[in-house]
Symmetry: D2
Subunit: 122 residues, 4 copies
Amino acid sequence: MTEIKEAQASVDRWIARFEEGYWPPLVNLARLTEEVGELAREMNHRFGAKKKRDDEPQGDLALELGDVLFVLIAIANEQGIDLDDALTKVLGKYEARDSDRWRAAESGPAAQPGSTRDGDTN
Amino acid sequence: MTEIKEAQASVDRWIARFEEGYWPPLVNLARLTEEVGELAREMNHRFGAKKKRDDEPQGDLALELGDVLFVLIAIANEQGIDLDDALTKVLGKYEARDSDRWRAAESGPAAQPGSTRDGDTN
Amino acid sequence: MTEIKEAQASVDRWIARFEEGYWPPLVNLARLTEEVGELAREMNHRFGAKKKRDDEPQGDLALELGDVLFVLIAIANEQGIDLDDALTKVLGKYEARDSDRWRAAESGPAAQPGSTRDGDTN
Amino acid sequence: MTEIKEAQASVDRWIARFEEGYWPPLVNLARLTEEVGELAREMNHRFGAKKKRDDEPQGDLALELGDVLFVLIAIANEQGIDLDDALTKVLGKYEARDSDRWRAAESGPAAQPGSTRDGDTN
């Protein structure tokens, strides 16, 4: 039951153990690009048309998402940004901007995290 | 003071309001690629060599990070993945793998989130 | 009927007109990430589930691909890399590595560029 | 001395050998994201702060650029887009849009492809 703020502190403690500290912004960004690429590879293997080679392990989608989250937190930490606050602002922005772009669900009981409400046709 | 689990539930509630529900995995991935691109544009404007055009607003790095986090959570939700657990596993993986790749900080008081410990030369 | 080498020279001439010259590698990489993000937005609008907002023009997929190609050439030029040679090597690498990953087409007349041989189910 | 059009035809011939033919657009896009990620990893190893692990080969920047170019051509082919024409249009667009964003080089002899005109400080 980790708070977002605690997750940022955990990443900070991990990085604090090393002399180099945080990487510069564009180095962090390059690493984010790399980790998103690994996520793309894993998702394409599961949901796309690309065949896995026999010597490639199945991988772990959760770990790839975790890697991306780690770098995202590192970028936020290095820049002194509160991700909890950022996410709140983003949800507010979507509220204002996108509320008329989608058709409202007719019923709409609050779904549980992880539930998939559409037929995945990919 | 939002927990990661609560953040996943907030995104889920937001998406539950719309008929379409979650997008398929490769559509979500394409949107993640798009949002990482917008983050790259913002970071390049601040830390890179690219000049802003006069008609481009300064933007908000925190919002761009929040947009990426939102899509990351949507991917995790759609796949039923617990991001809190994923981040814990990733920190454990780094612990095992990278502990000898960095020189340990000699002192090493736990730094605060947002602190930058290296000279950013980008 | 431009040769790849001529395309690299055209990009070089364009960049030579400006004092700044080529950007450093990680700045170029950030711009590549940005342009791939714009391509992702355009492709998601056409082939994904994301709805366009009314104030977003339809855009031009060819121009987005051209933007990515431009940055790719800039990275190659800045690093002194011959893309024609690189593509030849890559085709040779695929030849060696992937030849048994796909089922060979039974007939297999040389298709024309731009032809689509699969049912696009995205 | 390959023309861009010939490069598109070469990729097409390679893909024509296999039953599957071109992947759908969002699958191609996911693969582009993956290949850009591998390029980012290689560039970060060379120009960023990330340390290579001993078990990671030095890699080949040219091959990574070639991989990205291959997927870019595959996307263009699948969509019936002429990349030579697209690059010409992009150069024209930059001509119109960016000509006043940069300071013109005072002298400005046409530089050779691959030359680097700035001190790379990354």
